[in-house]
Amino acid sequence: MSDDVFVHETAEGSQELRERAATPPAELQREVGSVLRLPEGHYVDVADLDVERPDDETMIINMGPQHPSTHGVLRLMMELDGETVLRTKPIIGYLHTGMEKTGEELTYQQGGTNVTRMDYLSPLNNELVFSLATEALLGIEIPPRAVWIRMLLSELQRVSSHLMWTATNGMDVGSTTMMIFGFREREMLLGFFEKATGLRMNHNFIRPGGTAADLPDGWEDDVDLICENVTLRLDDYDELLTGQPIFRERMEGVGALSAEEAMALSATGPILRSTGIPWDLRRTMPYLAYDQVDFDVIIGTYGDNFDRYAIRLNEIRESIKIIRQVLERMPAGDYRVQDKKVTPPPRARIDESMEALIHHFKVFTEGYKVPEGEVYAAVESPRGELGCYLVSDGSAKPYRLHVRAPSFVNLQSLPVMLRGGLMADAVATISSVDPVMGEVDR
């Protein structure tokens, strides 16, 4: 590598990228020298390496985008010294779907179908944040039953997502039994979602104005059964994993992050809480009815993988607690706001009344106009702060839909966590960051 500076010529002009030796020490110190600054299409030619220098024995390898760790299409460009990871560069974009552009072409009623496919492990949270942003712009208030139904579904999604995480984390660390266990519980939850919303995943159920339909009859028994079963089986997982020496050795002290680093890197969710900062949007900036239910915010101490595992496991328990409270206190009433502008008429009325038919037609084809303005709404998804920045120009389609995806931002803390660890630790750490590439790339 004869040039100190790789000048990458593009149509927009040249962009300079510096080799590690030419990186100013101030910048190296700032990033702890963890982020690998090389162009992504760069092929390291062995002939260019100066073999005389002994400390130039690092190699740059590629992990992904297709690899068996089940976290989707993430590519990591790693600089290795033997087995030890020095610098990393996460390369994303392999699942870029242009959802923000598509969101500008869909009406607000259709927007849920688009947004829900971002974080596909907890799709109702995406719909929730989009609906909250739209309702803030519309200036409508939704009835209490709709709020509590949304809260119930959101917490059930959190349980399902954390179970999925425990399953895949267990498999990444080596325990395929955990994978089968986690999916077994998840099937119960998905069966309930199918009964209530019609689909196992990507439901498009939480819409601006409330929810698409009321909960089915007998839902209390189903949810009660879920809570009971999950609570029992959680103790099984505790027994399988928490006390087990191999699991502990693989997870404790690995991928550690300090509180200042996490805050500086804008990490949220279990990553931030594992460093000891009690930041949970459900408690600190409550939305829906989270200020009326009683639950604990779980925090860790060391910021390592084991803390994040323990946080997620216990968050399942806290979610079950919330779900039980919702079961007891679910109010009666409408499942969506009775505002003619936003809410289509009940399906039965379409056969009876011409007006209802026209109204239904208009809401579903033309859409309703949302007043001009911009708003940012945020919820606590299982991965962190999921935000939606919505700009409206007064028409029936969003002018700009931007979703602040927690995994996109959390991935920046990955190089800092991986530094100094081994390759095998890298797999466990990636898993504990819990990235969902659908929302990373959007």
């Binding site: 552009k101 949220t268 940012y376 702060e385 790339d441």
Partner: protein, 181 residues
Amino acid sequence: MGARAPRGRAPGDAEVSGDLPVVTLPPEGVVTAASAGQEIVLPARDRYHDVVAAYRDGGYELLSDLCAVDYLAHPPRALPGGVAPERFEVVATLVSPADRRRVRVRVQVPEDDAAVDSLFDLFPGCEAMEREAFDMFGIRFRGHPDLTRILMPDDWEGFPLRKDYGVGRVPVQFKEAPGPR
């Protein structure tokens, strides 16, 4: 591990000792307003970095979101405080964990000189978000360590989320309707 300690108050600190800088927020001479019940700040482009630094010193230690908007196809808008609207806007949302408050900083970026200061020295976590804004809109961030495409392939031409860039629909055999959807 070598990261800086946060300046201003730490989260959860109720009492503040005298040697921490006292910052008045919002900073002087900066337009503030409310939008849908949320606090927004509209600094001039040359004061953007200092305003965000002031907020950071005042306890807003978490950069929650940074995105860009292209107002090309928007009907003419009037911004509060007589701020001149430009084609692009860079929107940064800051959170104060101690006060549990959010503030949104919106800076206008003109089309012919689409560049603005990077917040990387204040918030290293803005790196990926600024890269995305560059990739999707073509806005350059001065002082960003690695301003390259992040979502699109490296050799992609054009900036997809700009309003003069089409959706890229492929005509489907049975639907000849030209408009979106």
